[in-house]
């Protein structure tokens, strides 16, 4: 679809707001509806839209499957790392209250970090699934 001007221009104007919206959903998740899972899916939707229009190779330049795989693992490890950090600080697993001076601040920080991990993993797993399916027909 490289030559379809209308689609390309529309997509180019759409992709930045999609990414901004994903970040909003990600970081506003602890005040209102939202969170890592939704944000990850929205962010990956932006990249998938990009690759639908400019081709898989272009998208894989943005984020290669190897990087996506490492990020997917990293996200899970951030989540679990928060859990182990709370254990080391003397609380139970994933007991965010011990992360900061006050209980509220601790819960806040904990959920932010955990959701960040979720967001990273969901986004990269969605991309990995897309790359795996879309790249299947390639020689």
């Amino acid at each position: 679809m490289k030559h379809n001007l209308i689609l390309r221009v529309t997509a180019k104007t759409l992709i930045p707001p999609i990414i901004i919206f994903a970040l909003y959903v990600q970081f506003h998740g602890d005040f209102g509806p939202g969170g890592g899972f939704q944000a990850g899916v929205i962010l990956s939707a932006a990249i998938i839209l990009y690759s639908l229009l400019f081709g898989l190779d272009a998208a894989e330049k943005v984020i290669t499957p190897t990087v996506a795989r490492i990020l997917a693992s990293l996200g899970v490890l951030i989540y679990m790392g928060v859990g182990f950090a709370t254990v080391l600080l003397g609380g139970n697993y994933l007991d965010y209250s011990v992360l900061a001076d006050t209980q509220v601040a601790g819960q806040h920080l904990g959920i932010l970090l955990v959701e960040l991990g979720v967001g990273v993993t969901v986004c990269s797993v969605m991309l990995l699934i897309f790359f795996a399916f879309a790249g299947r027909g390639r020689p």
């Binding site: 209102g32 509806p33 899972f37 699934i129 795996a132 399916f133 299947r136």
Partner: protein, 119 residues
């Protein structure tokens, strides 16, 4: 009696979808259609949970001033988990179907059976 039936309309919808999905899984020979049936089947269960959590006249479970009655948020959270599981299952099933198509050249169940038994 009529009130009883109409009053529980949400359960009827959930059960109807459940049976539709289940029937598709059992009756269709096409592997992709089976996955679609499985999805409908799973989604009906999600609906069952969500309708269950609704409190009459309850607001969305976000703390706002002046609202006293909230719906039960726990089933929503449970279903969020179940949706993730459903997505993973669908992705895995579709990946398997692609591999089956490459190995057998077809995704019709009876043709696959024929090929396996003719060997």
């Amino acid at each position: 009696m009529m009130d009883y039936i109409i009053g529980h309309y949400n359960y009827w919808i959930a059960i109807f979808l459940m049976m539709v999905g289940f029937y598709i899984v059992i009756s269709r020979g096409n592997l992709v259609k089976k996955i679609i049936g499985l999805n409908i089947f799973q989604v009906s269960v999600f609906l069952l949970y969500i309708t269950m959590s609704t409190v009459k006249d309850g607001a969305a479970p976000i703390i706002t001033e002046g609202v006293k009655l909230y719906s039960n948020p726990l089933p929503h959270v449970l279903i969020l988990t179940a949706i993730v599981v459903g997505v993973a299952t669908t992705a895995l099933a579709l990946a398997l179907v692609i591999r089956i198509k490459e190995a057998y050249g077809t995704i019709e169940e009876d043709e696959i059976h024929e090929q396996d038994h003719s060997l």
